[in-house]
Symmetry: C2
Subunit: 119 residues, 2 copies
DNA sequence: CTTCTTAGTATCCTTTTGGGTACTATGTTA
DNA sequence: TAACATAGTACCCAAAAGGATACTAAGAAG
């Protein structure tokens, strides 16, 4: 229905829509420095059901933030890794992470979610 | 039910929850350099119904990103402005805005939403 | 022929988010 | 005494997001 080819787009909404999904930031973080298989991501993010994990991965792929590589073998093997676009978004994630950590610390809360940025 | 006082918190989720609401980034942006009344925000963000605008403003206030000042006059007058915390989050908004703008331009889309950051 | 493995799907459900329309309170102004 | 202005509320509804559980395909291994 909506092509939106000639519409105006809000850059902030665009960005937030791309990283705002339930497990998207976490997935991008885990893929920062390595390629992971679906099963490895499941173990790293056990709170996500397979349905949710698949859904989030597909959306990240549609937005070209990650690459999905299917190997035609049995049992199946599918690799996920960051695309160049995915790599380019990392500074934003780090800025968000740093602000959030400061905010939590200033409120006496423990900041942690297995999402620690190594610099 | 959930106090979460002793829980671990993900800094990225924390930050995204605070700025991820439908009109929150836009509200923060409009308040960047000035105090605005409710009615002024309505005119600046006409696509938000009064219910939604109120809701988003209340959540921003609960998160201490903005200050709400009620003047006991008739007709009512309520002022909104950024708190120090709200001011501190602006660099993140700018980073998100810049990345989103580049992304849209590289995809041949017009980036705009009356949310242009003056530097 | 049965079991194992992996990367998902299918189905159904609950919760959250967003939205439309109409209504309210109340002192001031005409 | 009736209309006006402002900052909302109330109520009801639709859509989107998230979640639980069970199931599937298909070759390889035993």
């Amino acid at each position: 229905m909506d092509c939106n080819c000639n519409a105006y787009h809000c850059p902030v909404d665009t960005t937030l829509n791309m990283i705002g999904g339930k497990y998207k930031a976490l997935i991008l973080w885990h893929l920062t420095d390595k390629t992971l298989r679906f099963g490895e991501l499941r173990k790293l993010i056990p709170q996500a059901t397979p349905k949710m994990l698949t859904q989030q991965l597909r959306e990240l792929e549609e937005n070209h933030l990650i690459n999905r590589t299917v190997f035609p073998v049995v049992p199946p093997r599918v690799d996920y890794c960051l695309s160049d676009l995915g790599i380019s978004i990392r500074p934003i994630l780090e800025a968000i992470y740093t602000w959030g950590t400061d905010y939590l610390n200033q409120n006496g809360l423990e900041a942690s979610c297995s999402m620690t940025f190594s610099s």
